[in-house]
Symmetry: C2
Subunit: 212 residues, 2 copies
DNA sequence: CCTTACAGTTAACACTGTTATCTTAGTGAT
DNA sequence: ATCACTAAGATAACAGTGTTAACTGTAAGG
């Protein structure tokens, strides 16, 4: 092995070790625990070393997010087998909730915090490819449903429908993530409510509701 | 006027001047601009002075939030006149969106950031009173709809229904607040999507949909 | 073998929230 | 009117944050 490529490999290993450590910190102690000095200490280096591998904290943090979006998409794999588009939508909301529940820190990070816009070119995810891009996956599912004539005739825009459905379950998820312990609300069980929301929206946009 | 009560009054004035300054800062330059030193400078005092009026930053920040929740509830006043509960729900989602659009910083602050649970006893808002508590207002509207027999028979829990509807419009609002400039998504117009979501959910939960 | 590139460190800067210590002014009581 | 006390406000400091400049040493490439 040539030193040239060994250096390259070591650099990559270092990079992913930093990302791993940062994510662990975020998962176990929350986002505010992710400081450059603590991440560095986690891999027995100094904070300044991180700047040899990442332009700034934002770039490090964006790398975490990128891999979390991959994880989200990969969690969709289990429903890719469902052929009926509407059934797949139902299954999708289910795994989406599961992801949110089991990756609460990541979820807040990806969808509740403001980040500078991510340039798709700088991501490992191919934007718009349903095999890599989670939103694109949802989009193709909706598109299939439209092609099958399953939605009412006034719903022809896949993005519009996708955003409607996503917003419904995303909304209840964020309420639970943020207001879980808030004494002002008596939250109903997340899965149940999410299911009812998805089902109601579907009943609202589908051409032939099951019961009417 | 006795010195005793003048002191009291001055203290209250100081308190609200601090809150005002902090909110201005948050609205104009975002939450991260709200630092104790900058708030203090805004009223020509030192940072330590703020600690004579607020236990810590969290208490200051919670006071802002409290008054923002009052503002939200007050924005509901315009729809209180609508007698039909379902029509009032529709109007409610409309003013809710308007509030979110015109108070983006406050909205993020109230619903997207995690705060330690607020003890209702320490708030100026009477918890559960629909005249003061925005969620309670939504709840009574839904309750009226249930009493009128407008919802399908499987929806009898006001909280459940309220959370469904709220989650729908809250979801699309947060997506727009957080992902507005994200190149990964092509967001459809907020008002339109929100309207479609609310309408679909209603069509899903109402006993007699308009068209079927 | 020598130069160069570069990973990593130390020290520092400008910030953050927060506290201890001090001054100063005004209140309440004698 | 004088005295003690309360409390507002300021100064200085501490521990922490992201980030940069300057330095060290080691390993790669010619």
């Amino acid at each position: 092995m040539e030193p040239r490529e060994r250096r390259e490999r070591e650099r990559l290993e270092m990079r992913s070790k930093i990302i791993e450590t940062a994510r662990d910190l975020m998962v176990n102690e929350g986002y505010e625990a992710v400081t450059m000095r603590r991440v560095a200490k986690g891999i027995s280096y100094t904070a300044t070393t991180l700047y040899n591998h990442f332009k700034d904290k934002e770039e490090l943090v964006r790398s975490i997010m990128d891999s979390d979006f991959q994880t989200l998409r990969r969690s969709f794999d289990t429903v890719a087998a469902v052929t009926d588009p509407i059934e797949r939508l139902r299954a999708l909301t289910d795994v989406y909730i599961t992801f949110a529940i089991s990756h609460t820190s990541a979820y807040k990070f990806m969808f509740l915090m403001q980040h500078p816009p991510r340039d798709p070119a700088e991501s490992a995810i191919e934007h718009g490819n349903p095999d890599e891009d989670a939103y694109a996956f949802l989009l193709t599912t909706v598109t299939a449903g439209i092609a099958d004539g399953r939605f009412r005739e006034d719903f022809t825009d896949p993005d519009f429908l996708a955003q409607m459905i996503w917003a419904g379950v995303h909304g209840i998820v964020t309420i639970h993530l943020i207001k879980a312990t808030d004494p002002w609300l008596e939250l109903r069980p997340l899965r149940e409510t999410a299911h009812a929301i998805a089902e109601s929206i579907l009943r609202g946009v589908l051409r032939k509701p099951a019961d009417c």
